[in-house]
């Protein structure tokens, strides 16, 4: 399946600002989609689509901060760059506390905005890669037998083979075989790698 390229979603109620942003982002080769209201964006929102959000704070109806809150509620990971004509400090702090990449005041230097957008897109890529890796690890873990799963748990708790053999009432040799299979099924290059993968898998998404 071929994925769509990462898109910059621009939400601003001002026609001229929206159109000029579209032109600017197009000029640096970024795919752009624009929306004149937060609701319009939310209505067509697709969590699977990669990209970032360039969001005006003050809009009639749903404000930019409200949209951020709604996206957080549905665990959307799309990174947000706020742009605002008259933001104040509490507003900026709130946006940042809720995970905004940046909060830029209008008018802005094009390079500043483009840098931030690129950072946001990178963050989105990382997020998505992280999610993908987690999926892979979980899938692999599901392929383990119950016994292998037990061995995995004990190994990642830092227990030595001998101790595990005692715990499971099997021979040390058996433990070694299970352990080798676990490493192989999980695609782990080292014990440390295995531990990292288990931690990653257990992280809440």
């Amino acid at each position: 399946m071929k994925e769509k390229p990462a898109t910059v979603f621009v939400v601003d109620d001002d026609d001229a600002v929206r159109t000029s942003l579209r032109l600017l982002l197009k000029s640096v080769g970024l795919p752009v989609e624009t929306f004149s209201s937060a609701q319009e964006f939310l209505d067509s929102f697709d969590a699977e689509r990669a990209g970032c959000l360039v969001l005006d704070i003050r809009m009639p109806g749903m404000s930019g901060l409200e949209l951020q809150q709604r996206l957080n509620e549905i665990h959307a990971i799309v990174p947000i760059v706020f742009i605002t004509g008259h933001g104040d400090v509490p507003m900026a702090v709130e946006a940042m506390q809720h995970g905004a990449v940046d909060f830029i005041q209008k008018p802005f230097r094009d390079q500043d905005l483009i840098d931030r957008i690129n950072q946001a897109l990178e963050k989105d890529r990382d997020n998505r890669a992280g999610l993908k890796e987690r999926d892979t690890i979980r899938r692999r873990m599901q392929q383990l037998t119950p016994r292998e799963r037990e061995v995995l748990d004990l190994v990642t708790q830092g227990k030595a083979n001998k101790v595990i053999a005692g715990d499971l009432n099997v021979s040390q040799r058996t433990v070694e075989i299970h352990r080798a299979r676990v490493m192989e099924k999980m695609g782990a290059s080292s014990l440390a790698h295995l531990v990292r993968m288990v931690i990653e898998a257990e992280r809440a998404s």
Binding site: V17, L23, L24, G85
Partner: protein, 639 residues
């Protein structure tokens, strides 16, 4: 009367009976004995006279026959009740009752009833006498007193009688009226405590004592204050005579007083205004003149010379010469034109003009003139006043400027409250311009360069956005500029449409929708556009603020226009929480504000602006919640 006679006494029962009858018949009061059943047993001679019955006709009859209705019917029940419960209404008490003669007439009587001790079954004795005469005398006396009181009451002066201790023994209606008390509240009270101010009490008491001791001066006409119930002081002119008792000793004073408060006040006012007039004349630079036509002989009072700065020895001038020498060049032609027309039209006319005095100073002068026929036919006399109104003009100008400054300050303050929205409104096009320009630069730098058609479109956009920002700034400047009031012919609908540029950004940043519901056409009005915009913006601002205070309210402000009774009415309607009564009370007071950053000038100035335009500004609840502020402006004739 002891009916329990000592059994050892020598008299026989028969003798006793005779003696008793003689005794009873000699009594002045009617004596009636009844038995327990209410039957008459004894009826003496006085009773016979009183009731007109011989005793033979009543003995053995029921006593009710001596009573008129309704006592008659109630008596039986009363007897029964008394015998059972021992509760007496008459027995042992005595009271005034109505009695009925044989001929049916009823008379007032005093009745005392007692139970005859030891009698079995019970017997009762009643003593009764006619009190008609006493009643009549009392009534006559009361009538007499009432008549005297009514004479006193008719008197249009206050009459007060005091006893030697200063207590009020009598006061008439006028007195009560002046003092604001009822008669009952005054009679037998201490006059000095009740009606004299604490600071005067001692002196007034001393005067009472002196008058009682025969000091003639204390009986002369005096003027003194009384204090009314309301605590007001009234000035009373008093005339006093002594009251003597039977022994000829002075036992009190009778005082007649007249409320002279008003009279004294107007006397004082008159005196004051006379003084004012004198001093006004001295300082007002008020002169008068007389000119005879056609020979132009003139007469000027001293003040005319003083006002124009001419030596009195140089004598008066004819109007044309006066205009030539003293009139401000800009006013000269108008003065002469108006003067000639005023004289020609033979009536009253007035002129306002500037003169330049020989010392070079300019004064503003007002002349009120009147043309009268002279002694013989075509001749005329023009008389008039010359009044230097320079100072008044200056003061008026200063007041006007002060009001304009205040209006301007309020305008700036309203604008300050809208600053966030307006900054946004300017920032948006600036952002678009900067972004377009930066994008264009990038497009041009790209390999192959920019498409000229695309670039051209961007430049058109940049221009539009620059004009958009400029428009906001232009209106803003026009609005905040300090300027003199000026009246223009306005279409309110147009004015409101124009106002949108300023009002909408503020609404938008507060997430409020501004809706215009304008009548298709409205007649034109004569008004200062900036001042009317100021009123409207102020009302819109208030509406937005009201909405911020009422979080659940629909966030919409509606401006409407309509024609109401020949006036153009504009409403600014919100659906916020409405105005609490205690706030409504002060709403238009200067410096009254419920806003943290408000000056409290907005509504006060809005109202004075609308009043200056001969309109009205008010508010009423919006049906369904919220407040509607409305103002009217009178339409132009033929507008």
């Amino acid at each position: 009367m002891d009916t329990n006679a000592d059994p050892s006494a020598a008299a026989t029962p028969q003798q006793d009976g005779n003696e008793l009858k003689a005794l009873l018949d000699a009594a002045i009061d009617g004596v009636i004995v009844i038995d327990h059943a209410g039957r008459i047993a004894t009826f003496n001679a006085a009773a016979e006279r009183l009731f007109g019955y011989p005793s033979s006709e009543v003995i053995g009859q029921r006593v009710e026959m001596l009573m008129p209705e309704p006592y008659r019917t109630g008596h039986d029940a009363y007897m029964t009740s008394y015998q059972r419960t021992g509760k007496a209404r008459i027995i042992g008490i005595g009271r005034e009752v109505a009695a009925r003669r044989r001929d049916g007439t009823v008379f007032p009587a005093s009745l005392a009833v007692g139970e005859i001790p030891g009698s079995v079954p019970k017997r009762y004795v009643g003593f009764i006498h006619d009190i008609s005469a006493r009643k009549a005398a009392t009534a006559a006396l009361r009538r007499e007193r009432d008549r005297a009181q009514s004479y006193l009451d008719l008197a249009q002066v206050m009459l007060v009688a005091l006893d030697a201790a200063g207590h009020i023994t009598l006061i008439n209606r006028k007195g009560c009226e002046i003092l604001g008390y009822t008669e009952a509240e005054l009679v037998s009270r201490d006059w000095f405590e009740q009606c004299v101010s604490p600071t005067h009490r001692d002196a007034a008491r001393a005067a009472l004592r002196a008058a009682l001791q025969g000091d003639g001066r204390a009986l002369e006409y005096t003027e003194d204050e009384v204090i009314t119930r309301e605590g007001h002081a009234k000035l009373i002119g008093w005339r006093t005579t002594r009251i003597h008792d039977e022994q000829g000793n002075a036992s009190g004073l009778l005082c007649s007083g007249e409320d002279i408060t008003e009279q004294r006040r107007s006397e004082q006012a008159l005196k004051r205004s006379e003084q004012l007039l004198i001093s006004a004349q001295a300082i007002a630079k008020f002169g008068n003149f007389e000119i005879h036509l056609p020979d132009r002989a003139s007469l000027w009072s001293q003040q005319v010379y003083d006002i124009i700065g001419r030596d009195p020895d140089a004598g008066p001038l004819a109007p044309e010469e006066f205009a030539g020498q003293f009139l401000h060049p800009d006013d000269r032609d108008r003065f002469l034109h108006d003067w000639r027309r005023g004289v020609a039209e033979s009536g009253r006319f007035d002129l306002e003009y500037r003169i330049v005095r020989p010392d070079g100073s300019t004064r503003v002068v007002h002349t009120l003139a009147q043309t009268l026929p002279g002694k013989d036919a075509p001749s005329l006399v023009v008389t008039g006043t010359v009044h230097d109104i320079t100072d008044r003009k200056l003061a008026e100008e200063e007041l006007r400027q002060g009001q304009e400054r205040l209006t301007h300050v309020a305008r700036l303050s309203t604008m300050g409250e809208m600053a966030t929205g307006l900054a946004h409104e300017i920032n948006q096009p600036l952002t678009a311009i900067a972004t377009y320009a930066q994008a264009s630069t990038r497009l041009m730098d790209a390999p192959g360069g920019a498409d000229p058609v695309e670039l051209r479109e961007v430049l058109v956009q940049i221009t539009a956005q620059a004009l958009r920002a400029g428009e906001v700034i232009r209106r803003l400047r026009a609005f905040v500029k300090n300027r003199a009031a000026r009246t223009e012919t306005l279409d309110m609908n147009r004015l409101i449409e124009d106002l949108r540029v300023l009002a909408e950004p503020d609404a938008r940043v507060n997430d409020v929708r501004l809706t215009l519901e304008l009548a298709p056409t409205v007649p034109t009005v004569a008004a200062d556009p900036v001042q009317i915009q100021q009123v409207l913006l102020n009302l819109v601002r208030n509406a937005i603020d009201a909405m911020l205070e009422a979080p659940g309210a629909p966030r919409e402000v509606v401006i409407t226009t309509a024609v109401v009774d020949q006036d153009v009415e504009v409403c600014v309607i919100d659906r916020a929480g409405g105005i609490p009564p205690e706030v409504a009370l002060h709403l238009f007071n200067p410096f009254y504000t419920t806003k943290e950053a408000g000056t409290g000038l907005g509504l006060a100035i809005s109202r004075s602006i609308i009043r200056a335009h001969r309109g009205k500004l008010g508010h009423r609840p919006t049906p369904g919640g919220g407040t509607t502020f409305h103002f009217t402006l009178p339409q132009l004739p033929g507008g």
